[in-house]
């Protein structure tokens, strides 16, 4: 469900599958491990292969955002699917989580 890639100063967590109450714990665990390994300066969560996310999944992403920004890191999210963008827009998190439509855009953040 999650794969991790290091590129320059960024750690990219690519997620696939639904991030609902079933999938969110896997993403949470991955992010805890990534953040424990530490201090990459830019965390990118790539949700472009996530067809669905709910408040549980958004909570996991927001928790990672808080951890990264608390240590003065950069944080970006990639999202393209209708359902994911819908929740991010509706909750007003599009700007806070620095949502972009492609990984290249996120890397330039």
């Amino acid at each position: 469900m999650c794969s991790i890639e290091e590129r320059d100063d960024a750690t990219i967590v690519r997620v696939s599958g639904d991030v609902d109450v079933v999938g969110a714990p896997t993403l949470r665990q991955t992010l805890i491990e990534v953040l424990a390994h530490g201090p990459s300066t830019h965390l990118i969560i790539d949700l472009s292969r996530v067809p669905f996310i709910d408040s549980t999944g958004i909570g996991v992403v927001a928790a990672a955002y808080r951890r990264v920004t608390a240590r003065n890191g950069r944080f970006s999210t990639v999202a393209t699917s209708e359902a994911v963008l819908r929740v991010l827009e509706m909750t007003g998190l599009v700007k806070i989580l620095r949502v972009t439509s492609s990984l290249d855009d996120a890397l330039r953040e």
Binding site: D18, D20, V21, V22, F52, D54, S55, T56, I58, G59, E82, A83, R86, V87, M90, T91
Partner: protein, 141 residues
């Protein structure tokens, strides 16, 4: 046990169709319910955004109830496809505590923002129900 029962096809005199879906109260079945919800919303000519809203709202309501469901309980979703182009959904489950979901949670905020009309109730037998109603804009409205 998964069981999908559809009311008889409307003949023109029937004002609405009711679809009842009963699933084990297990999060593994949430994706099945989301797919069914999207299919029903599409039947009423909901727009893509409205379908997404309803799909997420039903998921949120069920996920909330699953946290307090009795072991081996079934979750029941009753969809009323109204003739004014709205869908009313009642999601209910027998719970361990009979408590209505807190309205102070992020999940409830998301649910009410997406569905428009949302309410909850609890019976004396500790069955907790979340009801929501989503009006579609549809091509004819």
């Amino acid at each position: 046990m998964t069981n999908i029962a559809e009311a008889p096809e409307a003949t023109g005199a029937t004002p609405r169709d009711v679809v009842v879906i009963t699933l084990p109260a297990n999060s593994a079945y949430l994706s099945v319910l989301r797919t069914a919800t999207a299919g029903l919303a599409a039947r009423l000519d909901f727009t893509i955004d409205e379908i997404e809203d309803l799909r997420i709202a039903v998921d949120e309501a069920c996920a909330m109830l699953l946290t307090q469901a009795r072991p081996d309980a079934e979750i029941t979703c009753e969809f009323s496809l109204d003739d004014d182009g709205a869908i009313s959904v009642a999601v209910s489950v027998l719970t361990v505590d009979g408590q209505q979901p807190s309205r102070e949670t992020f999940a409830w905020t998301v649910l009410s923002a997406l569905a428009g009309e949302v309410d909850s109730s609890a019976d004396s037998d500790r069955r907790v129900t979340i009801t929501l109603r989503k009006q579609g804009s549809g091509p004819d409205r």
